[in-house]
Symmetry: C2
Subunit: 316 residues, 2 copies
């Protein structure tokens, strides 16, 4: 299969690259690295994403060229669908993209059943970035500094900073080669993880006061209210990553953040360690997600909501 993909790259002239909505570091780093490689090979490569690039990924080389509007999809010889287990995950162009004759799907999600004829799938790979690294090695293309930086960002973020079980020896060897090729671990980490506004820390300080531990059920929760935002000058997007904080407590199996979204409504975000399935809790309240990460919206006063969630955890 990889030979057919290389042959499609070799014969194509105009390439479209896209990835899933709600962009993350793996989607963006993979798209950009692939675009750089194609351009270095003298091809035309356009990256389309439905969603805007989040602020902390705008430093990635080439990010300024990503487009969010597309016309004439049929002008592309090849369409790359990256980091998607289903075609629908790319958003509103999902139907039209099938007018491109050759679609290539590169992905590492376990649930990927294979929606395109040409595909490079490996659920054991840490990231789509790692799969692209393998492909580029196979093609003997030059791993430029731009490519290395983007692939390193992809691998770094999708392994949670080399912390998840998907961090294999080959993952770290790929990372080593990418650093050798010009990726700066410090600069990349600083841009992704250390570019928060001061208001975020002020918000964190207030929110940590709401920490509640339930040792019986092994849960830990935080609450973010409109009042907290007003008091600190922060906005709801600054709560990104807060869910990882109650996780750090020993013996906590489920971490929860209740974020106010209305006068009488909260969004509940859930994360679990190991085999605890929080998707089931979210589903009880009409939400969804995966075994270790899920979310839902619940109406009511906070005390009442917490009591209902506690009951749902008990019945898990």
């Amino acid at each position: 299969m990889i030979k057919e993909i290389i042959s499609a790259i070799s014969s194509g002239k105009r390439f479209l690259i896209t990835a899933h909505v709600r962009l993350d570091g793996d989607a963006l780093g993979s798209e950009l690295a692939l675009a750089w490689m194609l351009k270095d090979l003298g091809k035309e490569a356009v990256i389309y994403n439905q969603d805007a690039t989040p602020g902390h990924y705008r430093f990635l080389p080439g990010a300024e060229n990503i487009v969010s509007e597309l016309e004439h999809l049929d002008r592309y010889d090849v369409g790359f669908i990256l980091d998607c287990s289903e075609l629908e995950r790319i958003g509103k162009i999902a139907a039209d993209v099938t007018t491109i004759k050759t679609l290539i799907n590169i992905d590492h999600h376990v649930s990927n059943g294979g929606f395109s004829k040409l595909r490079l799938l490996d659920p054991k790979a840490s990231s789509t970035g790692e799969l692209l690294y393998r492909l580029m090695r196979k093609m003997h293309v030059k791993l430029t500094e731009e490519i290395c930086t983007n692939l390193y960002a992809a691998i770094l973020t999708d392994t949670g900073g080399f912390r998840y079980s998907s961090t294999h020896p080959d993952t770290l060897r790929a990372a080593a080669d990418l650093v050798q090729g010009g990726a700066s671990p410090q600069w990349i980490s600083e841009n992704i993880y250390e570019s928060d506004p001061p208001a975020k820390l002020k918000l964190l300080s207030r929110v940590l006061e709401t920490l509640e531990l339930d040792l019986e059920l092994q849960t830990a929760s935080l609450v973010v209210t409109f009042d907290h935002l007003r008091q600190t000058g922060a906005s709801m997007e600054h709560t990104d990553g807060f869910i990882d904080i109650p996780r750090t407590v020993k013996d906590v199996a489920i971490a929860m953040v209740y974020s106010q979204i209305g006068d009488n409504q909260f969004k509940l975000s859930l994360r679990s360690k190991g085999k605890v399935n929080v998707e089931k809790i979210a589903a009880r309240f009409g939400g969804g997600g995966h075994i270790n990460a899920a979310a839902c919206r619940i109406e009511g006063d906070l005390a009442g909501i917490k009591a209902r969630v506690r009951q749902a955890v008990k019945e898990l």
Copy 2:
């Protein structure tokens, strides 16, 4: 020099291993990995530390055998002083340890002037753990699961989770080999970073209230006092990692934590981004470290100390 060290290992029978006070992951992981290697070679190896092993490092294989009392130092053939730029950093046995005929210092601190005849020093190494990895490779000893786990923990923690500029291609290649040899990135990370007592989050909440940003000098600081510990039931070891929090603010070049260590004395921990050299600041107050991570002890009242540090940053 490395040949003489290998020869001293080969001819010695009884080995003492120690490291600096205020133990960190590099000190402990290095000590333990070395002890495992020596025992695998049929030697006697005793690890002595003045301070107790912090809770989140007690999972490290062999940590239960570390002693905090020593008699008859002259019975050891070789004494390993790890991760210390000065002999005094090992604490109260510093004077007596010189009764051991052969001392070997393995360290990566820039400020290390070389206090022992036998030494393996490289300020470019990410960690003492990486230096031991090199030594063991040179010796062709088997990297057992216990050795790999300890060395991985050493490298992981001293690179801030592979984020500091000290993360070189060889650092990541060493990490890859260690994972291949049985180190589990997920298990090690969970034990070190996600096994905190609830009191740590309570302490963090209090300490975040002390956040001070100096936009002119691009510094951000936190303060931890004895009062904070009393109020939250936490201990000073729970401040581990707090220094990384002011770092997350955009445009902060230097992160600082002032930790009270006496009625009128604070330890200042410094971390910098990019090429800002905080070792120079620490050196001004008689401390040491590396370009991006350094520490010192300063006497006086907090306001006076902060003013002196501010001046030192200005003159950087």
